[in-house]
């Protein structure tokens, strides 16, 4: 039996503005280590909201969240930042690369923040990831010189740099064409199988969702399957 890496227990979330509105209702599920999970549903069903709660960036919720058997509910801002830095990698619809830095520096940034390895080691590691993602030759380029697909791959490399337990994606292929989407999906699949890292992706692309190991389908703030 696979070990549970991420567990949500009775998560409720309300939006207060403009009126009190229940976005998530009693969400409970657990995700095993090394699984590839997609969360899907119609626009406005609360899937992104759920992901941001799982990502620890949104702390305004009720219920309990356990990452690697560690309760996250009562951690403060600084502690959660450390959790995100060490254990979670993010890939968003938009790449969010910092334009003032080159590709390599963007990838290295979270590891430099972690400060576990020397800068030389981090650089080596970043280069390995870039090599794996096939953008090794772009490492010293400026972010603005890259294509959309390349940028997204840099963002994935950044997510991987600290060897996180979970990689979370919010519509990571939303801005990409079919070909690049397939590439990104392939990368996720590889990471999942080879590194035993867990992947949680929110998507409304049914094609993408279907190919995941497990699909969590949501409707009106509830899990239906």
């Amino acid at each position: 039996m696979e070990t549970t890496i991420l567990q949500a227990v009775n998560i409720n979330k309300y939006f207060l503005d403009p009126v009190r509105f229940r976005v998530l209702t009693d969400i409970s599920f657990s995700i095993g280590r090394g699984s590839f999970v997609s969360i899907t549903g119609k626009s406005g069903c609360g899937k992104s909201t759920l992901l941001y709660i799982l990502s620890t960036m949104d702390t305004d919720y009720e219920g309990e969240l356990l990452l690697n058997d560690e309760a996250l509910r009562r951690k403060n801002d600084a502690e959660l930042a450390i959790v995100r830095n060490q254990k979670i990698g993010f890939v968003f619809q938009f790449h969010y690369l910092i334009e003032e830095f080159n590709v390599l520096k963007n990838v290295m940034l979270p590891a430099m923040k972690l400060g576990k390895y020397t800068n030389e080691l981090v650089e080596q590691k970043a280069m390995q990831h870039l090599k794996m993602l096939g953008i090794y030759d772009q490492a010293l380029k400026n972010v603005s010189q890259l294509s959309g697909g390349q940028k997204q791959r840099v963002a994935i490399a950044r997510a991987l740099i600290n060897d996180p337990l979970i990689i979370m994606g919010d519509e990571p292929t939303g801005n990409l064409d079919k070909k690049n989407s397939d590439v990104v999906f392939g990368i996720f699949k590889d990471i999942c199988q080879e590194n035993k890292q867990t992947i949680v992706v929110v998507t409304h692309d049914p094609d993408f969702a279907k190919r995941a190991d497990r699909t969590i389908r949501m409707e009106d703030g509830k899990i239906i399957t």
């Binding site: 949104d58 801002d77 600084a78 003032e100 979270p110």
Partner: protein, 419 residues
């Protein structure tokens, strides 16, 4: 290493807005430079103005005031002890102006460690005669070395030297105005008549100018020995004891103490020249408030650029937070950013301020009051530079603090969801 990383990020963000950053830093530069130039110049002027009067004035002057005896003989008489005695037409006691036991008093005061030094003086009114004209004036008999040490008399001597008073016997240094009226110059001999009718011929060895006509028209200096000889007095005859203290603020208290201790009259410099203190304070206040205003304006400039930068770099802030930078880290990044502007602007400001001060100190400035000063006085005190840089850092820190706090509060979810 972490500090370095945050600084690194701060610098990268700064580069994104290089032009505005330069303008913001220039604001600090301008503020600091003006502060330093203004304060150096103001203090230089203040010191010069103070030196006009304060340095020339003893902090404490001991003398024998012409006054009636405090206890009249009738009050000492035991048979009238219980009576109320009325004495009409009391006249001052004829003790002369001599301070008794002056040598001992000087020795005692010199041993006091609050005192820089003590200088004796003999002051007397005289008539100067040149040809048929007679002018009244004052001769101060001074100890040449002590007078120079305490009151820098040489600064006001426009011809000759104070040292000549000691080396040339029967010599005198007279005021510029006096010399002009008597139509005499260095090397001439003038006749001096004391109030008691004694006459002497004194050789002019120097001209002195204080820039105050009333003084320059009457003042003259001679050595203490010549002054004693002139009046036919013995070598212990002293009319004034001039004291300079290490801390001028103590003057009123010490003056009172000496007056009681030596049973003489004593005045302190604060009482004698109250208006100068006020002038100095006012000038300093003006200089500091102008500079502080400039720096605050510079601070607003930095505040603006940082605010703009934060709105522009919301995405970067959001991703930094998403990838594990805490609010504190983000705050630190923006404060560093501000401080970088402050440090760079401040350092250039200090250099510029120094250059400005240097330029001011080379502008010609002729004043009859201070014949030795040829250019504007500027005080190159290190403390102004330290105050300047400290102020630059404080203002930029505060200017950075508020935008940084805002950046720290940026909710990454809001930014990321918005896309």
């Amino acid at each position: 290493m972490k500090t370095g990383l945050l600084l690194n990020i701060a610098l990268a963000l700064l580069m994104a807005r290089l032009k505005q950053s330069i303008v913001a830093a220039a604001g600090v530069t301008f503020g600091i430079a003006t502060f330093i130039a203004l304060v150096s110049f103001m203090t230089g002027l203040n010191k010069m103005l103070d030196s006009l009067i304060i340095n020339r004035t003893p902090h404490i002057r001991l003398y024998n005031a012409i006054a009636p005896s405090k206890t009249q003989p009738v009050n000492r008489a035991t048979e009238y002890a219980g009576f109320k005695n009325f004495i009409l037409s009391v006249k001052p006691k004829d003790e002369g102006k001599q301070i008794y036991n002056a040598g001992r008093i000087i020795k005692t005061i010199r041993a006091d460690d609050r005192v820089i030094d003590v200088a004796p003086k003999i002051s007397t009114t005289v008539f100067f005669t040149s040809g048929t004209i007679q002018l009244s004036g004052i001769i101060d008999g001074v100890d040449v070395d002590l007078e120079q040490k305490l009151f820098h008399l040489n600064d006001n001597i426009i011809a000759g030297s104070i040292a000549d008073l000691g080396t040339v016997s029967n010599s005198i240094i007279i005021g510029k105005g006096l010399a002009d009226k008597l139509i005499v110059k260095i090397g001439n001999v003038i006749q001096v008549t004391t109030p008691d009718g004694d006459r002497a011929m004194l050789k002019i060895v120097g001209l002195v100018q204080f820039g105050i006509a009333e003084v320059d028209d009457v003042q003259s200096f001679t050595s203490i020995q010549t002054a004693q000889k002139l009046q036919g007095k013995p070598a212990n005859y002293i009319t004034d004891i001039q004291v300079k203290l290490k801390n001028i603020a103590l003057a009123p208290a010490v003056a009172k103490e000496y007056a009681r201790l030596f049973d003489v009259s004593a005045t302190d410099v604060q009482t004698a020249n109250a208006q100068f203190e006020t002038g100095t304070t006012v000038r300093n206040t003006i200089a500091y408030s102008v500079s502080v205003t400039l720096l605050i304006v510079a601070g607003f400039g930095i505040y603006n650029i940082l605010n703009m930068l934060i709105y522009e770099k919301m995405d970067s802030i959001a991703i930094l937070k998403a990838t594990g930078f805490s609010g504190k880290d983000v705050k630190a990044i923006f404060i560093r950013l501000s401080m970088v502007l402050g440090v760079i602007g401040g350092i250039i400001g200090i250099l510029l301020g120094y250059c400005l001060s240097l330029i001011i100190s080379h502008i010609p400035f002729e004043t009859s009051a201070l014949p030795t000063i040829k250019t504007y006085p500027v005080d190159f005190g290190v403390s102004y530079y330290l105050i300047g840089i400290a102020f630059a850092l404080t203002t930029t820190y505060l200017a950075g603090l508020f935008p940084a706090r805002k950046a720290a509060k940026v909710d990454p979810v809001v930014i990321i969801r918005g896309k």
